[in-house]
């Protein structure tokens, strides 16, 4: 399992290790779908992520939809250079905070 979840107060941190792809989509959804409290913050920690494909981008967008629905906040934390490039191509920096 390459996905870890830390919860503190109303802040959920999802740490993804190695590959961020379709294989973890269910775990990823499960990590946040129970969180319906408004004002919650979800942090996606990509500091240990080495690879990302389009399904990861799709998952992040679905998360974004969910966060918007519960009027919470989200940010992407420390993506490496390769991953950051993909995020830039997808122009995610316009949609959400990417902390480098």
């Amino acid at each position: 399992m390459t996905l870890k979840k830390h919860v503190s107060d109303n802040k959920i941190t999802i740490v993804i290790q190695d590959r961020f792809d379709f294989s973890i989509h269910q775990h990823f959804r499960d990590a946040y779908c129970d969180c319906n409290e408004s004002g919650s913050e979800i942090i996606i920690d990509l500091s240990q992520t080495t690879y990302m494909d389009s399904s990861a981008l799709g998952m992040i967008l679905l998360l974004k939809d969910h966060v918007d629905k519960i009027s919470g906040k989200m940010k992407i934390f420390k993506p490496n250079e390769a991953v950051n490039k993909i995020l830039e191509i997808a122009q995610f920096h316009r949609l959400m905070t990417i902390e480098k």
Partner: protein, 395 residues
């Protein structure tokens, strides 16, 4: 003094001596007259002879003078010949130079005119290029730039589509997951239905046993019980059918899941590379465009300069006229020299009477030549200086 004169002189002296003796010794007049006559005739003869000799002497020197005259004449002829040879060669060279200068100037002039024409054509082409560049500028940059820009936009759209597809697929996936969990619910319900039908079966069996125990009275009931049992068996069969159908549906869902996974998972590496290439291309195109704009503008600025230089060169070719003037002047000077040489050669030294007249004539013609040359030279220098001053007017 020649011997003849000596003899006459001796005769004269002897006669005088004889006269003196005759007068002193004989004192006779008759002989004295004769001797006097002889003496006088002797002296007269001597006088004439001497006079004749005097006249003869210049005749001897005249022969010498004739010889030196011939020498001078020969020298003059030689000098005239030499001058004539030199002047004729110089005249020939002048006319040759004229032809060469004319040809060269014509050639250079033609080539410059051609150059000017070519330059005009080039200017026209550059103008076309500039106009095209400006026209495309107005239509939002050049075609190439627009193309690269469009490629970038297309790529962005493509990325957007990929991401949206992934998102939609993942949503589909979550719906599928929900469906799968609902199928699980259906299975549970089916199990309940199954247990119901097996209970019904058991109850029907019990009812049939009880009906058999009741005997004839229970015969009708036994038929109903059997029917109920048959129904429960049918319902079990139906349940199994439903179960297998749903199991089939689950396999289909598994397939669906796989294909959705394929749809959702697109590798972004190639897209990333393409995007990078496009941005590099874009920079390259922009740089190239700027460069070509600059070069074309430089070229446009260069053309008038070339025209100017060619014009200057064509104008400078008017040195031809000045050269011709110089050559004409030279020719004029040589004609004068020729004339002088002719004059010298026609000099007749032999006729002493004509000599002063000839000298005078020679001096006069020399003066005429000097005057003529002076006036021509003055005119030329005036015209030349006026040409220099009139540079701006002329060119």
């Amino acid at each position: 003094m020649l011997t003849n004169e000596k003899v006459i002189l001796v005769i004269g002296l002897v006669s005088s001596f004889l006269l003196a003796i005759n007068l002193a010794v004989y004192n006779t007049i008759e002989f004295s007259w004769l001797i006097c006559f002889i003496i006088i005739s002797c002296f007269c003869l001597l006088f004439f002879r001497l006079n004749a000799q005097k006249n003869k002497k210049p005749k001897v020197s005249l022969i010498d003078e004739n010889e030196s005259d011939r020498e001078i004449l020969q020298t003059f002829t030689q000098v005239e010949k030499a001058i004539g040879q030199q002047t004729s060669i110089i005249e020939k060279e002048i006319s040759r130079t004229k032809v060469i200068v004319k040809d060269a100037v014509e050639g250079i002039s033609n080539s410059f005119k051609y150059l000017q024409q070519l330059n005009l054509e080039q200017q026209g082409m550059i103008n076309i290029v500039i106009n095209q560049a400006h026209a495309t500028d107005e239509d939002d940059e050049t075609i190439l730039e627009t193309f690269v820009d469009d490629s970038g936009k297309t790529l962005e759209k493509f990325v957007e589509v990929i991401i949206n597809t992934s998102k939609q697929s993942l949503e589909t996936m979550s719906y599928t997951d929900e469906m799968v969990s609902q199928f699980d619910g259906i299975f549970k319900l089916l199990e309940q239905v199954e247990s119901l039908s097996s209970q019904t079966n058991l109850l029907a069996l019990n009812a049939a046993i009880e009906a058999a125990r009741a005997g004839d009275a229970g015969r009708g009931f036994a038929v109903v019980a059997n029917e109920v049992r048959a129904l429960s068996v049918n319902s079990t069969e139906l349940n199994n059918d439903i179960r297998s159908k749903i199991a089939g549906a689950q396999i289909t869902i598994k397939k669906l899941r796989d294909s959705v996974e394929l749809m959702a998972s697109a590798d972004m590496t190639s897209t990333l590379q393409a995007k990078e290439r496009v941005s590099v291309m874009m920079q390259h195109v922009q740089k190239m465009n700027q460069e070509s704009h600059r070069v074309v503008e430089d070229l446009a600025g260069l053309s008038p300069k070339i025209s100017e230089a060619v014009g200057l060169a064509v104008r400078s070719l008017q040195f031809e006229d000045l050269t011709y003037q110089s050559l004409d002047s030279l020719a004029f000077n040589f004609i004068n020299l020729h004339q002088l040489a002719d004059e010298i050669s026609s000099f007749n030294i032999a006729s002493h009477e004509e000599l002063p007249e000839q000298l005078k004539q020679l001096q006069e013609s020399c003066n005429t030549i000097i005057e003529k040359t002076k006036s021509v030279d003055d005119r030329r220098s005036v015209s030349q200086s006026s040409m220099d001053e009139g540079d701006i007017d002329l060119f």
